[in-house]
């Protein structure tokens, strides 16, 4: 089963240690065949709103930036517990903050 882990932005800038640890973590998960895709997202982005027949496109930044997603990882695991365990390992590396883990259905 697949899970998408999304991470919210934090104020702390990543240091070299974090980069190195994260690099190792990503490498390990890729090698284990668990990590299918990962990436960081630009802050803000573009907001597309539809209301009735009207579609509005708004350029960021937005006030709710803290609620936005800063990065994601798509993992393929055997169980929710495995997803949680990997999310725990991820959080230990990045420090204070939040990630959301959701099962992905389809295609």
């Amino acid at each position: 089963m697949r899970y998408l882990m999304t991470t919210k932005p934090t104020d702390t800038a990543p240091d070299e240690k974090l980069y190195a640890e994260m690099g190792r973590f990503i490498e390990e998960l890729t090698a284990a065949g668990v990590l299918l895709a990962t990436g960081g997202l630009e802050p803000g982005g573009i907001l597309v709103t539809s209301s009735g027949d009207e579609i509005t496109v708004t350029d960021g930044p937005f006030t709710e930036a803290k609620e936005a997603v800063a990065g994601f990882a798509l993992i393929e695991v055997r169980s929710q517990e495995e997803a949680i365990e990997l999310a725990r390992r991820f959080r230990r590396i990045v420090g204070d903050g939040q990630s959301v883990v959701q099962q992905v259905f389809g295609p």
């Binding site: 299918l36 495995e82 725990r88 390992r89």
Partner: protein
Amino acid sequence: MIVLVPDVHRTVDAAWKLESAKIVASLTRMVRDVGLAEELAQDAVVAALEQWPVSGVPDNPGAWLTTTAKRRAVDHLRRSQRLERKQEQLAHELEQQHGPDATPDAEPDDVLRLVFLSCHPVLPTEARAALTLRLLGGLTAEEISRAFLVTETVITQRIARAKRTLAERRVPFELPERDRLAERLSSVLEVVYLIFNEGYSATSGDDLMRPGLCLEALRLGRLLAELAPREPEVHALVALMEIQASRAAARTGPSGQPVPLHEQNRGRWDQLLIRRGFTAMLRARETGGGAPGPYTLQAAIAVCHAQARSAEGTDWTRIASLYEALARILPTPIVRLNRAVAVGMAYGPQAGLDLADSLLADAVLSDYHLLPGVRGICWRGSAATTRPASNSGGPRPSRRTPPSAPSWSGARTRSATPHRRAGRSGRPPTTS
């Protein structure tokens, strides 16, 4: 907000499955006996099951299991009846090196050594598969037995016998010599593909443990590709499995009936897996120097199907020539029959029929159960109704005629509650 209280048993299981390959590999390096290594590792699991409910799940469950297992191994080496000074020294050194509290990683090669060990040709194929799922995937005997539709006792005995054989034959925990690498590697790939096919042949009504085998095999394959990056056939097998797995959701209809390749809704093919398959195929091509091996050819056929936007857009000429090359190095009945179908698709029914008829002369094939079906396919000869049942699995005798169009073209029923148990390998959820 509700804090999710982890189910300790499931948490232990998850941590174990994620780490088991590395733990067993590094313990095997220490004690030089894979059976013993696994027992010691299991002791750590038992300890976790006893302690975590009381002490709480540790911050880093995987590291906890690794550390505990290594302590058991060090203790074992110390306690060992034939305690020689040398062994004590070894135990001391190990402790120095890793420290019981460090997070010791197995050398990457240790996991590869473990793969070669559990897929060693001294073992019968089915024993290799069970042992590999056990040691590399961390599956329990019960899970393996459900996946292979046999009793747990059968698997337990199979694994025990395999471990005994490895010990008796003194199979070393080493990478194969260069001159034996090809043979040993093909033994490994055979096991991985067998595991994959066991899962792939499961229908949607089956226990999810069976489709779960596809994921296990994919993981093993991807792991192997990292561990042995210069072996084209490894990348090719990964490509083949990724692309076949990409069709998992599309290959069964709403009531679990098989949907042949040419009738599948290509929109339901998993593009992520297809792209991963293409990438793996590129690696296979980059690393491969000589003549393409059997997995490279099969993967190339899978790539052809995946590249076609529609069934009609399939490059049958290329597929036919790939099957021709494959039939030369892997002249199994399935491959030769698939070749006949591909030739029929590429050059017209008569060409396929001629080839199928020439197979009749072959003693092995003349009473082969699929041959009449293939001849039938060629006879019908219409592009709209003929295709090999799957790109490399070949036409299947049990493939029933799909139900009449209205019953399944209208409602793509993914059942009312598809999400609860959306298959381990992205297969459609149980609908029956």
